[in-house]
Symmetry: C2
Subunit: 487 residues, 2 copies
């Protein structure tokens, strides 16, 4: 890490912790250089980085200030879920959304797709090419069930970053986080069993519950504080739940991160009712806060947490490289890995291990976190401008996904059909519910905030505004005002 990056992190931490508050004036470049024993240009570079992340702003001739508190749009309300375990439907919606080729003309604004065009990713392509060119027979051979040792070593080393001290032998490399979650569910729950999930919830997890003949107990989830522990406790008392499946850090689709206290409380609940926790941490490394939030796995003293993650959101989903730390369920997880895919493709593992070992992963993550945070802010500004006023929007603390709730009259499945004719796609809210709720909600991706994204968002906003009662009323009011002014 460069000196200026260390300084920027230090300042970011202080801003996020509230030591510097919104609109506070920051120390002058000279003062900071002196107090930290660094050069003026180092301080300037650090300030530029924070400016870039829109955490601070420069006022000509006055210096640097903490950005004013963002006026947050209203968050979506807590969803109402069925108060019993349910079978999962909505496969048709999910299937439709996953059958679009990346090289077609459709602009898919709903998918969980990261930006894969960053320059910091180039060394990965070089590593992939090198692994093939080396004509190394290991890369063509079957891997073991566990996955390549050199990759597991890197994952174990990085686990310190989220509060764990995982050993390579505890890890299983998987074909994406998808396989990790799929394995985890089958490792802890029999067909017919019940799994508690946050709601709205990642549709891949919901569809696994469906495919393996299990039932989903959806737990109301607050867009700011996360899954309701009270509702979860009630559900655990009433139903023979086998596992809790959650995405507690940079939640998909709501964007919240459960506080450490609530993570601990969730773990304590799981202990009390002796159930497993399937922790999806796939967006965890993309948290905007520094250092990144700890995982529930980091408190795991009896091996009941099955931590699942991947390089699909941080590097590239086309690699299909995930991993899991299944705790006490390791043996069952290995069996499920064996019957699912046998082993994971070898060359990708070797290339990613090289990429991490050569030190490319951290700089890449830093870059992407900054980009995604900047895009979030820009996307929120744009939506506030072009969407109807009644729209409620999540405030993601990491990742690159936004959850919106439109006026109750809006049907986002119908919206999606209409958008398709214009070459645009969103992820309609029903995909995130076991029973087709969230019909007026949608998920948008802001991994990129280029001209095409802006145009698509504007187009969605325009269509929504056409039929929005409030907007129509506003318009009338505006035209009345216009008339009274001109008369």
């Amino acid at each position: 890490m460069h000196r200026y990056e260390r300084l920027a992190d230090h300042l970011r931490e202080r801003i996020q912790a509230g030591y510097y508050r919104p609109d506070d004036r920051l120390p002058s470049v000279r003062a900071l250089a002196e107090s930290h024993g660094v050069s003026l240009s180092t301080v300037q570079q650090a300030y530029h980085q924070l400016e870039d992340a829109q955490l601070i702003l420069a006022r000509p001739k006055s210096g640097y200030f903490v950005s004013p508190q963002r006026e947050r749009p209203a968050l979506p309300p807590v969803g109402r879920t069925a108060q019993r375990p349910v079978e999962v439907s909505q496969w048709e919606q999910v299937r439709e959304g996953t059958c679009i080729l990346p090289d077609t003309e459709i602009f898919h604004l709903g998918r969980g797709m990261p930006d894969i065009d960053a320059p910091t990713l180039k060394p990965l392509l070089r590593a992939l090419s090198r692994v093939s060119r080396r004509q190394d027979l290991v890369g063509l051979n079957y891997d073991t069930l566990h996955g390549r040792p050199e990759l597991r070593e890197e994952i174990a080393r990085l686990s310190v970053g989220h509060g764990c001290r995982l050993h390579p032998d505890e890890l299983v490399v998987t074909t994406g986080c998808h396989e990790a979650i799929s394995i985890a569910m089958r490792a802890v729950c029999e067909p017919g069993g019940i799994i508690a999930v946050d709601s709205p919830s990642f549709y891949g997890a919901l569809q696994s519950i469906r495919a393996y003949g299990m039932k989903a107990m959806e737990i109301p989830t607050d867009p700011e504080t996360g899954i309701s522990l009270e509702a979860l406790e009630l559900a655990l008392e009433q139903w023979p739940i086998r596992a809790i499946q959650v995405t507690p850090t940079c939640n998909n689709p709501l964007g919240y991160t459960l506080s450490v206290e609530r993570k601990r409380a969730l773990y304590a609940l799981a202990q009390r009712f002796d159930v497993a926790i399937i922790e999806d941490d796939v967006y965890g490394d993309l948290a905007y806060a520094f250092p990144r939030p700890v995982t529930i796995k980091s408190f795991d003293e009896d091996g009941r947490v099955l931590l699942c993650s991947s390089f699909s959101k941080t590097l590239a989903p086309g690699l299909r490289l995930g991993w899991m730390a299944p705790g006490r369920y390791l043996e069952r997880a290995l069996h499920m890995k064996y019957v699912g895919t046998g082993s994971t493709a070898t060359q990708g593992q070797m290339a990613v291990a090289e990429f991490i070992r050569e030190g490319h992963f951290e700089p890449h993550l830093r870059r992407m976190r900054r980009q995604y945070q900047r895009n979030r802010n820009a996307m929120l500004d744009l939506i506030a401008e072009v969407f109807p006023l009644s729209t409620r929007i999540s405030f993601p603390e990491g990742g690159f996904l936004l959850w919106l709730e439109c006026d109750a009259s809006v049907d986002t499945v119908a919206l999606n059909t209409r958008l398709m004719t214009e070459g645009i796609r969103i992820a309609p809210g029903v995909m995130f519910s076991a029973t087709g709720k969230y019909r007026s909600c949608l998920r948008l991706n802001y991994s990129l905030f280029d001209a095409a994204t802006r145009q698509a968002v504007k187009r969605i906003g325009a269509i929504l505004s056409e039929s929005d009662p409030a907007t129509a009323e506003d318009r009338i009011r505006a035209s009345v005002l216009q008339e009274s002014l001109s008369s």
Copy 2:
């Protein structure tokens, strides 16, 4: 295909069809050149190729002759299976066999590992390297559930070779044949359901049955004529079987290929009892006969056959690239694909599609088929020499796997443990049974027949001979003879 290869194929076909019989003299080089209108050197090249495959031999000054009929060692007897559906055990044996890294010192003579060091495979490594170097974003992106269109087109085109006319849209690319079989089982059978399997059977399929809470109905299988249709019919009458899982072409582990008539009869049985057929064709392209045997899928008129295959045995298992044609179960198969791995790694698909499109696949297959047939013969000769006389051996019609049955007193699990101390591994027979039968059997791999292989086989033979009653008796007789001669 070169002219000499076409001629060699023509001659091979006539030898295999019995037009030329063992020890028959073949036409002179000059006569053949004239009758086929080709050059003398073309005929010579064709004869060299057949000599290389040990189908013919040259006798100095007399010309070329069809190789004498091989004296075949006795085949293993038909196994006795439980006459009811059973739960599958033996996971520990399978797990142990799959947790050895390819880059360790263990010489694994039991695994289904092809030779990945052939020069005809080099263009694949170049294609892989090129796909990465191209820095094509498609290769890093999520693929669709179906798999890359360019690869499905090649697979559909090649399907004519086994009597099918598959359409790319019928195909699903999978993470190895393992995932294809796993998907197929879940697509046709619920937990608790019964699947009929040949016996001995591929342990991966058996373990899938176990993992998904199904039961296996093992059907006695003849090492020459294949799965007993009579026993299968009886089982279908008695039990609510949902699907028949078979490897009818170049069976693993027995090596037989079901005749076309028996394949048709098997399909008719499936129709009569309205069950699905899961056809594992993973070794089918490695049949020594030309043209390769047709698949059961080629008769499929009502979509009940789920054909599963991969490039793991023909190209390289480390790619984890398989595919399936699930017939009428396509929609359920796509759902199972989605919840298992989401999609298949993208770059490998693109590289294999390039490799096939550029015409490298057929020459590679031809080379490997010749090599494996040559190795089979050499391996059979060596085993006849160094194993106890009581050993019964399969006579594979394709692929690179041999099934041996030792004296009933032999325990191949114990043998494997002993061999491990010498850095050698075999696949003990119990892995191929749902209930730990075939304890005196083992599977050996002859994809390579190098010095290390020969040494390992000799070592196994020596250990088996130590305790073999017949060998001991022979030895006494030999020494008595020796004594009587020297006295």
